[in-house]
Every structure is written in structure tokens, then in C-alpha cells.
Amino acid sequence: MILTLFLIGIAILFIGSALQAALPRSVRIPLFTVAAIIGLLFTGFASVQALLNVPTAITFGCPFPLGSVTLELDPLSAFFALTISLGGIAGSLYGAGYLSGYPERSLRGHLFALALFLISMLLVVTVRAVLPFLFVWELMSLSSLVLVFFDRQREEVRDATVNYFIAMHVAFALILTGFLLLMTRSGSGDFASFAAAMQDPAFAETALLILFAGFAIKAGFIPFHSWLPKAHPAAPSHVSGLMSGVMIKTGIYGILRFTLIVGVPTTRLAVIVLMVAVVSAVVGVLYAIAQHDLKRLLAYSSIENIGIIGIGIGLSMIGMRIGNGPLILLGMTGALIHLINHSLFKGLLFYGAGALYRATHTRDIEKLGGLIGKMPATALLFIVGSVAIAGLPPLNGFISEFVLYLSMLYGAPLAAGGYGALVVLTAGALALTGILALYCFTKACGIVFLGSPRSDATDTARDPDRAMIAGMALLAVAAVAIGLYPAPLFSVAASVAALYPFPGDAAAQAAPVVTTLGSVSRALLFFVLFFAFLYYIRHRLLAKSGGIATAATWGCGYRHGTARMQYTGSSYASPLMALAGQLLGLSVHREAPQGLFPARTAFHSHPHDLVDSYLIAPGAKFIRYLFSLFRWVQSGDMAQYILYGILFLAAALVWIMGGTA
């Protein structure tokens, strides 16, 4: 019954996208948005039902290549389907407002691709066999490719799309090899059959490593992340919100699905996952701080949050290895909660960046400033998103990090020797990531929205229209709600985490944490009330005493202050860059003043991505060199091509003749 609802949702989405192509331009966007929201409501409702009740499966026949396809909504799939639906609803609502800003575009293809994109993601998390999984996975990649290619007139977008295309297909190749390797043992393409294949730990480890590499490219862990900071800024904001908030989670889904299948992972795999996650978290946020482009900053902060989710998964893997209850349950629950939290506040931040781009037509934060006066709603929502992403109470970001810390605090004493230290070091790394995220988003909010305008790009800025604000407000309200009342989300995530091998009764382990979260909510409520009380006192005091006068910011009595006398983004980050500059490949071009009466002095800095410049670029250069060796083959002379044909036939003939003899 539940899956029928799920399929109905998908059908509505598909029909809506098909119909909109036929209708006139004016009706197209509203119709698509309504269809999308209703469809996603259906799938969301279905996944909530699946989470609360027993998981159900449905199998139906398909035309030639796929054979029989089984869709199953077990708690893990349902949780991801719920995330996709929520992100999709906000995204399409915001997308409606954003796309209406492009009257000259026909949008037929774009909306159809958007629908396909959502549908393919929903299917990726529900199919249970190799062939349909690969088919739907490829459909997701291709549809997102079309979406990223929206601003095709910009050269930067075309490069990013090609880069994205290649990265997705390297991932596809890795996943394919992983599946083929597993199918050699299991015989059939069904995921359930892989469990048997994975009894031999060594074989399971190599297969999982390959699959993990493929899914990591999609998720954006550090060594594999190079496409993400190029593709997300290039895509239109509603697409980058969806990609960053939802699509990269399918990579996490792949890792979780196969961790579930394999049962207890080997120690080495668990440590690798944890290390990659820690590196992604810390280095990701360091790169984010160094950026001048707002959307690249948000893209790198997505890598950081994926790293935090990875830390949760890594901890639970290690827990499974050493039979440590809290690590398994709370680690996985923290990761899942952070997954849904991140899709909320990252979507919110990207939509905010989109509204900013729409208003100022620039993404360089050094050109912005003082926008809180002209765009109050966007500013408020962006600050709410920043508080959430920095993991600060009373918003949802804190809840997931709190659960992760709980898993470490409970898990460390139970972990033997080296593992205990590893868990504590991970706690330190998570704290470092949290404080760096605070540093990064005070920079983003402070430089973009506060102070006074740094260039005339902000003159025509004003708040976006209602649909975009509604999309963002929906996410902000969700973030505040989860932050203040996390218990329901926690219990849902705990039920999903209970799927994993747990030494004892998972529910018994999760119950005390719900009461702890209750006391967290009470403490935060006290904080909010005490803040309101203090603000009220401040208001009363100022009313009674000298009152509030306005004057210029205290600039030492100098009347000719300019906007240049404000701190800039790179100056705000420079003390940290002095410490971590080499790690970030920060190239600084500085002309020191020459002589007693200098004519010119200048300063420019640009953060390079070390992985790009030392891993991807040399590889690409080598491949290009390799192919250039065979350029002579393409002489362009028809006679030469015919000659190749003849030579081939002759060789084939000789080979067959040899064969028969």
C-alpha cells in the first residue's frame, strides 16, 4: 500500500513534467511546481509511513533490459526518500521563483530534467538490483548534467559541466567494477545475494573499497571532491541547492547500503572511512574560509559537512568492529540526523546565495557589504542558516553534532586502548571543524551582509520575490523546529541505525538519549527565554535613561571615511591563512611599496585546491600528452582512412586463418 503511494507520487511528478512541456510558457512553471510539490508530498508521506511501520517491497516487470525491478522502502531507503522529498519541495518552491527571473528561456527541457532528476534520486534509494540501480544512477547523473548546463553561455559553466560529466562517469565506472566483482561471487545482480558473497572479509573489503571510492566521488569526500567546487557554483542556485543538499547524499546512501549488506566491516576499511571523513571535514572548512566566491565557499562547506557525516559513519563502523554499542548506534544516528540537517541549512544558504546573485550579479564577497539594510529577509534567513551550519545551539546543526559527541563520550571508555584515543582525537577534530565553521560563516555573514557597501554592485539590491523567500523560510523554520524539539527526528534516525549489527537491544540504548535531548531542549528554552528577558530589560533601561542616539561608527573623529576602511574577507581570514596557508596552496601576489615615495603597491591572493593542482591537473596533462602521441592518426586525408580499413580486414583475415589452422 505504502509503495503504491510512493509510485503515485513519482507518477504525478513525471506527468506534471511531461504536461508542462505542452503548455504555454506562462502556465508552465506554476503547473510544474504544483505537480512537483504534490508528488513529493506523496513520496514524503509514503516514506514517513514506511519509517513508522514495517518495510514493504513491490516487484513489477519492465521492458527488455531491466527485467523484473523490485522497489523496497526499508527504513534506510525511506529515510533518504524523506530527505529527498523535503529538499525537493523547498527546492522546487524556490526554483519557481528563481526560474521566473528568466523570462527569455523556454525552460521545457530544464523542468523536465528537474523532474527526472528528482525521480531518479527517489528510485536510486529504493531499487534493490544492480542493473536498475546503475540505470537510475546514470539517469540521475545525466539529468543533473542538463540542469548544471543551464547558464550555458558562460564559459566557466561549460568547463564545470565537462568536468562534472567526467567525474560522474569515473564514479560510474568504479561502482560498475565493484558490482561486477561482487556478481562474480553472488551469481545474481540482486543486492540481497551480495550478503552471501561478502562472507570472505578480504574479498568484501576490496569490493567495498572500490564501491566506497565510487560513492565518495558522488558524495564529495576530500581526495575525490574536485568536481564539487566547480559544479555547484556553475549551476543555477535552485539546482546547486538541490545538488548540495540532496544529490551528494545518494553517495552517502550507497556507502550506508553496502555497509548494511556487508555487516561487520574490516578494521582497515573502518579506519580509512574515518580518516577520509576527518580530513574532508577539517580541510574542507579550511578551504571554505580561504574562498572569495560565496558559492565556492558554500560548496567547500558541503564537503566539510559530508566529512562530519563520514565521521559518524566511520565511528559506527569502528564500533561495529569492536562491538561498541554507543559508537554504532549514536554514531550512525548522528550521521543520519546531520544528513537531513545539512540538506536543510545548506539548501537555505545556497538559495540565499542565489537571491544575492540575482540582486547583485556578483559572487565575489569583497564587492558586497551592508546588504542587511537592502535585503533584510535574505539576511535574516542567511544568518539563521549560518548559525545552523556552524553547529551552534539552538538550531538543528547543534543537535547532530551533539549526538556525535555523545557517541564519542559514551563510546570512548568502552573502546579498548588505541581506539579510545582515536575516538577522543576524532572529538578534537570535530571541535576544530566546528570552530572553523564558526570562523568561516562569521566571515561570510559579516562581510556580505554587515558593515557598509564596498562597491556599487549593491546599489540595486532588494529582497527576492515571495516564492524564493517562502522556499528559504520553509527550510529555516524546519531548522529551528528540529533545533528546539529534536526528539522525534532522533527516534526516527535511531530506528534506522538499529538496522546495523548491534550487540544488545538498540532501543534500550537509544531511550536514555531521548531524555538527554529533552533536557537539552529545556536548557535551550531557558536560554531563549533568558535572552528575551535581557532584551526586554535593555529596552526598558534605555527608555528610562538617555535613550538611543544615532551617530557615525566611531572612526576617531575622521569625517572622510570610505568603505575601504572596513575589514575585507581575505583580511579577516589572513591570520588563519598565515598558519594554514601552505596547506591551502594560497598563492599571494604582493607588490611591496618601492623607494621612499612609492608609485604603486598591490595585493591579490587566490586559494588553489591542492588536490586539483597536484593530483587531477598532472593526471589530465599526462593523459593529454599520451593522446597527443597518436595525433598523427587523425591526418584528415580520406585515402589514409580507407587504408586503415583495408589493413584491419587483412589482419582479421590472417587471425582467423591462423585460428582455423
Partner: protein, 305 residues
């Protein structure tokens, strides 16, 4: 229950008393009279009855930030272990909420500094942000180590050091030095920052509140004093013996807090400030101490099953 009431009483009295004592120690070291010890209380009462001047450039962030900073710091203090390590609000993992509430206070103080659009406040904000990047992980590493050793997860029990081996002395000494360094950094004392310097290019915390006036200034100064008292209370929780009766603890906590103030005063009377670029290296000492505690915890625990 009385311990909780005492906690709240100390919350109100001790922070400003600590600042008064630091000023008095510095005055005695300089052979002068200096401020009366209760001067911070008097200043705060005066500031609450004064008007305010707000810059035209600022937005609601500037108006809201002081109240948020004080509310967050007070809530964090209610979570922190007080008299005899009892806490007003206690639950498993409360140390995380306490430190992240301080993070929330810092977030809005940084935003409020950037809101005024003055290069002085931007300078103060970027320095303050950098120092907390080094100090915060050290605190969490230390908390994790205590959890590893004690098996508990609530603030009060975490800081109860027990066990036969040399572990409690190592943890107590390394922890005290680290917390004292954090007290000097977060409380904006020399050698990191000089609170009563009159040079806006060298200040850190002072310059961030250059534009706040009246009640806002009172809130922010009280929040800064509270933070300093928090780390003094943590030192007290670390040092005091595990099974100290509440009555003794009721006297021990203020004495230790005031001793911390005297120590901070003496440090300020003898040391000059570090060059701004060298302060991070000084703060890495805190991280190193946390790592030493972790290593000794693993060593002494012998790796329980």
C-alpha cells in the same frame, strides 16, 4: 539544592570580584592604589543607567548581540560545575552544550563587531576568531580524555578525578595549566591581550566592543568576566578532591577562583605582551597539554577491554 543556590550566587558575585582583584594585584605590583575592588560592580550599575549611542551603519545584529552573548554565557555557567561540582542544569554530554553556547556568544560578538564596519573592530574580530580556533579543540580533547578515563559523560562527573595510579595528578596539573591559559586568552588578559591598553591597534576584546555603549557595554563586560570565572570554576572542579563535602566546597570554590585572579594579576605584572603573530604558538601549548593528558590517560588505563 543549597549548592545550586550557591552556584547562582557565586555566578553573580565572583566574576566582577575576580576582575577587581586582578586590578588590585596589578596596582600593588606597580606600587599604586588603583581601582577599588568593587569598581566593576559600580561601573556596571552606572552603565545600566546610561543612554546608548548606536552607529547608523549597524543593523538589528548589533542590537541583539550583547543580549545573546550574555544569555548564552549565563546559561553555559549554569551548566558548568560549581560548588562541589554540582550543576544547576546537568545531563549527559552537557559539556558540549556549555562550550557550544560560548561559541554562540562568540559568533554574535564577531558579527556585531563586523556590523559596525570599522577596521578596528574587524581586526579585533579576526584575532579573537583565530585564538578560539586554537583553544576550542584543546578543551574538547581534554573533555574527551576525561570521558575516556572516567567513563562518565556529565560535566560534574567528568571533572571528578579519581583512580589509584598517577593519572589524577597528571590530569589535574596539565588540565590546570591548560585551563589557566584558556582563562588568560578568553578573559583577554596579558600576555595575549591587554584590557586597559589605550591603543586601538593592539586591543582584541576591548576593540570589539569599541562601539557598544550603555547597557550593551555592561552586558558584554559581564559576559567576559563570566567566561573568566567559568575557567576558574573548572580549575577548582579539577583540583578539589573527589569526595569534598558541600560545605567545604562552598568555601573552596571562591578561594580558588580568587587565587586564579591573583595568579592572573601576577602574570600580568611580570610578563609583557607577546607579538600578535606569536600568540598562536603560545596557544598551541594548550593543545599540547591536552594531547599529553590523552597520552597519559591511554597509558595509565592500560587499555581496558
Amino acid at each position: 539544592m543549597t549548592a545550586r543556590a550557591l552556584n547562582i550566587l557565586f555566578l553573580l558575585l565572583l566574576p566582577f570580584l575576580m576582575i577587581g582583584i586582578i586590578n588590585r594585584v596589578k596596582a600593588l605590583a606597580g606600587g599604586r592604589k588603583g581601582f577599588p575592588i568593587l569598581q566593576p560592580f559600580i561601573d556596571t550599575l552606572k552603565l545600566l543607567r546610561k543612554g546608548a549611542v548606536v552607529s547608523r551603519v549597524t543593523s538589528w545584529v548589533f542590537a541583539v548581540a550583547p543580549a545573546i552573548a550574555l544569555a548564552a554565557t549565563v546559561t553555559a555557567l549554569l551548566i558548568a560545575p560549581g560548588v562541589g561540582r554540582t550543576q544547576v542544569i546537568a545531563f549527559d554530554g552537557d559539556i558540549v552544550l556549555c562550550l557550544y553556547l560560548l561559541g554562540l556568544a562568540k559568533f554574535f560578538q564577531l558579527l556585531s563587531a563586523l556590523d559596525t564596519g570599522s577596521s578596528f573592530e574587524g581586526m579585533g574580530a579576526s584575532r579573537e576568531a583565530l585564538f578560539s580556533v586554537v583553544v576550542e579543540p584543546a578543551l574538547f580533547l581534554f573533555a574527551g580524555t576525561l570521558a575516556l578515563a572516567s567513563g562518565h559523560a556529565s560535566f560534574g562527573e567528568l571533572f571528578t578525578l579519581s583512580g589509584g595510579s598517577a593519572w589524577p595528578t597528571v590530569a589535574a596539573s596539565a588540565g590546570t595549566i591548560m585551563l589557566f591559559l584558556t582563562l588568560l586568552t578568553e578573559g583577554c588578559r596579558i600576555p595575549v591581550d591587554d584590557p586597559n591598553t589605550h591603543l586601538e591597534l593592539t586591543m582584541i576584546h576591548e576593540v570589539m566592543i569599541l562601539d557598544n555603549s550603555g547597557p550593551d557595554l555592561a552586558f558584554l563586560q559581564y559576559a567576559a568576566a563570566l567566561k573568566m570565572y567559568l575557567f576558574a570554576a573548572l580549575i577548582a572542579a579539577l583540583i578539589l578532591p573527589a569526595d569534598i563535602p558541600v560545605l567545604h566546597a562552598a568555601f573552596a570554590l571562591p578561594i580558588i577562583a580568587l587565587l586564579c585572579a591573583v595568579a592572573a594579576g601576577l602574570v600580568e605584572s611580570l610578563l609583557a605582551r607577546f607579538r600578535m603573530s606569536h600568540v598562536p604558538q603560545f596557544l598551541f601549548l594548550a593543545v599540547a597539554l591536552a594531547l599529553i593528558t590523552l597520552a597519559s590517560a591511554v597509558y595509565f588505563r592500560g587499555g581496558a577491554a
